[in-house]
Amino acid sequence: MTDQPDTYAAAAEVGAVRKRRTRLERVGLLLKSAPPSAWFGMIVVTLYILVAIFADVIAPYGEAEIHPVPFAPWGGEFLFGTDQIGRDVLTRLIYGARNTMGIALATTMLSFLIGGGLGLVAAINRSWLDQFLSRFVDVLMAIPSLIFALMLLSIFGSTVTSLIMIIAVLDSTRVFRLTRAVAVNVAVMDYVEAAKLRGEGLSWIMRREILPNILPPLVAEFGLRFCFVFLTIAALSFLGVGIQPPTADWGSMVRENASLIQFAKYDITAAITPLLPAAAIALLTVAVNFIVDWFLHKTSGLRDEH
């Protein structure tokens, strides 16, 4: 608005003009406004990711390396002692980050691919296909998911692949519900109708017209779903049908060392050992939730008063 013509001109109309910023500047501005809780979450998640990526380098021993002393105490050669068959607990915690998070991430992505894709199709289509998919999802959701997962895992066997597939399919029902609900609101907009009138196909309307507009709630849901998947895997491992030995994983670590808790009166550190993987799970869950909360607040359009 530097030059202001005397009479009306379309280009000089007052709109909400925004300063052009590069992506980097926008990210910088965003980070500057992040609250401490979000910073905490981001730092924790980054550390977890680094640990998971560089597990080989950081871990003092091999993932399944067995040492002569089982249940070794804390300190000395083994910082957090060894487990029931003499594996270094610290090493297994570090590898556990890689395994548990990797599987949880793969599962969440797969569930979003299935649930999100079908949800979008249902929202655009709105015919018998929508009815069929929605009712099928209702049926799946009616069965308690942990019991359903236990049952399916005992049928198909506890391999990593079947674990990922089964949890992803069960979780995709929730993603389907959310995607369909938010996509239906967008699918009735004039710009979707304009795209249909232009003759665009289903895939274009899904990917280019609707998906970008429902991304914020989906991203938030992704964070939360990731936590739930992660907890489900830990729970299944604790029950013995999740990730199988010798692969290190936080859920089964809690189970394997659970009996150590009873030695609390002799050695408090021994009792803490089985709680370490549990604490690792809890910390990551809290951190991810902090980030998601901040993100939701940002995208909900709520304005802080100045």
Partner: protein
């Protein structure tokens, strides 16, 4: 409220060099850049300007109020000797609702749907102890009567959803008048109403403000309306005053070029041209939404290179006709004939070429553009999709199209949220134009815009028609728009075509009753228009 005799020339409100900043995109911007405003008792000041000129912000500042995200950065606001800049929130709250009242644009959104109208009308007067509740209620009935509301004794016991929009707007005026304030701020009170209702609300407001000698600030973008209401008119632009003068002087001899351009808005009228080469015709079409039959044996023919305006009330089947033409709603019977060949009824059976030749522009440009796509993406897609343009050729064509709609390359990487209302609608026009269509269906394309912006859009459409021989099917309920753009007019009523003919035939007497009412209710730029109209209608509005 004040009982002492008031003299007309005592200054009630004085704003000096008021500056207001708004916060957006992580920065503060100046919205009001030093405006002076003086209002005497009993005077009505009209504030006009395009959207974004800062009218509403200034109007609210007259109450000492700034919206969240705005702050007062300079100047003084004196209301009857009270400094509203320095006044505490508690002091201001004592004034608001009793000595200063505010009438908002959307009455429907401003009433609490869970309470009866009368309870909300008397709330301020009763709770602030201006007079006892029973007296307030009796007074409210008097106000309802003065505002010519039907059944003034009982209308107060209704809930907001049980009365019409125009009635609700008048109840809101009664609510504002109830404590007998010294100042009322009307913020576009009739913008959301249709013309026939607007006349009633305007006359009611004017009478009651005159009767109680209340000062008022009347904010609007409708010049003809402000000419009826205001003693003095102040024109704002970009948060600055353009000029201020008494209404008659302002209308007859505006000093600034910008004001003159505002004044000429309603003068646009296209000379009609008869066309014989029929490009599209709707042949005995019946259509229904489920069990509800909406169109009954509709026949319309549209000549090539001309504009056919479809007018009628809401619910008369105008938009449904457009949906039948585009294939979104296959008709029950009858057909749409395009360039001599019948079009397949359903959208999915039409060829890409057929889709390309019929384009559509929507009423709400906001929802017609994907908020996540840039202007370039929006305009470039039809170029790629229909014409197969790629890379440099496509980019050049987008720039060319932007020039055609009087915008420039700098708009290419903007998102729709960064455009004004008129610019958004221009981008939609460019998108339709990009397909190089034979016919464009315009569904109320100007009704959501300010008048001066409307005029700009209509001029653009006329120019494009001349250059590219495009045919328009123009759906609207606004007679001024019809006069400006059409060659032929189709009048629809309850799903049937009442008449089709040349503009001059349809717009000359004798009229059917509805057309007569519609035509006479369009405000004119004459300060005596409302007075004359009301005296000409024997039974009152």
């Amino acid at each position: 409220m004040s009982t002492e005799p008031v003299s007309k020339d005592r200054i009630l409100l004085e704003m000096r060099d008021v500056r207001i900043d708004g916060f957006s995109d992580e920065r503060w911007h100046q919205i009001i850049k030093g405006v002076n405003l003086t209002l005497r008792r009993g005077e009505i000041l009209g504030l006009i300007g395009e959207s974004g000129a800062g009218k509403s912000t200034l109007g609210k500042a007259a109450m000492g109020y700034t919206q969240p995200g705005c702050k007062l950065t300079g100047g003084s606001i004196l209301f009857d000797g009270i400094d509203l800049v320095k006044a505490s929130d508690a002091e201001k709250r004592r004034l608001w609702g009793t000595r200063i009242a505010y009438v908002a644009q959307s009455a429907a959104a401003s009433f609490n749907p869970a309470h009866r109208l009368i309870d909300q009308t008397v709330e301020a007067a009763t709770r602030r102890g201006i007079r006892p509740d029973a007296e307030s209620r009796a007074d409210a009935v008097q106000l309802f009567r003065a505002l010519q509301l039907p059944k003034p004794e009982t209308i107060g016991s209704r809930y907001p959803h049980q009365v019409s929009g125009g009635q609700l707007q008048r109840v809101m005026t009664a609510m504002a008048m109830s404590p007998r304030p010294d100042l009322i701020i009307f913020d576009e009170p009739t913008t959301a109403l249709d013309v026939t209702t607007q006349v009633e609300v305007l006359s009611a407001m004017r009478n009651i403000v005159e009767e109680f000698n209340t000062a008022a600030i009347y904010i609007t973008h409708d010049l003809a309306v402000v000419a009826q209401m205001a003693d003095t008119i102040k024109v704002l632009r970009y948060g600055e005053e353009v000029e201020e003068a008494p209404t008659r002087q302002m209308l007859t001899e505006p000093k600034q070029a910008y004001t003159r351009s505002l004044w000429s808005v309603r003068a646009l009228e296209k000379p009609e041209v008869k066309g014989d080469d029929i490009i599209l015709s709707i042949d005995h079409v019946d259509a229904a939404y489920g069990p509800f039959k909406v169109l009954h044996d509709v026949n319309i023919s549209i000549p090539r290179g001309r504009t056919v305006a479809v007018v009628g009330e809401s619910g008369s089947g105008k938009s449904t006709t457009a949906r039948v033409i585009t294939g979104l709603l296959p008709p029950l019977s009858g057909s749409v004939i395009f360039n001599g060949e019948p079009l397949p009824a359903a959208l999915k059976d039409r060829s890409k070429d057929q889709l390309q030749r019929i384009q559509m522009i929507y009423q709400m440009a906001d929802t017609a553009m994907n908020p996540r796509q840039t202007v370039f993406d929006i305009i470039a897609r039809p170029l790629e999709f229909y014409l197969g343009l790629k890379g440099k050729a496509r980019e050049d064509r987008v720039v060319e199209l932007l020039k055609m709609i009087e915008l420039d390359e700098s708009f290419m990487d903007r998102l729709p949220s960064e455009l004004s209302g008129g610019q958004k609608q221009r981008i939609c026009i460019a998108r339709a134009l990009a397909a190089e269509p034979d016919i464009i269906i315009c569904d109320e394309v100007t009704s959501a815009l300010d008048q001066i912006v409307q005029e700009g859009i209509l001029k653009l459409l006329l120019r494009l028609q001349k250059e590219f021989n495009i045919t328009y099917l123009f759906i609207t309920h606004d007679i001024a728009t019809v006069k400006a753009i059409s060659d032929e007019i189709v009048v629809m009523f309850q799903g049937k075509v009442v008449e089709q003919g040349l503009k001059s035939e349809i717009l000359s007497p004798p009229f059917p009753d509805y057309t007569q009412l519609l035509l006479s209710s369009v405000p004119e730029m004459d300060p005596d228009w409302l007075t004359n109209l009301l005296s000409a209608r024997p039974d009152g509005p």
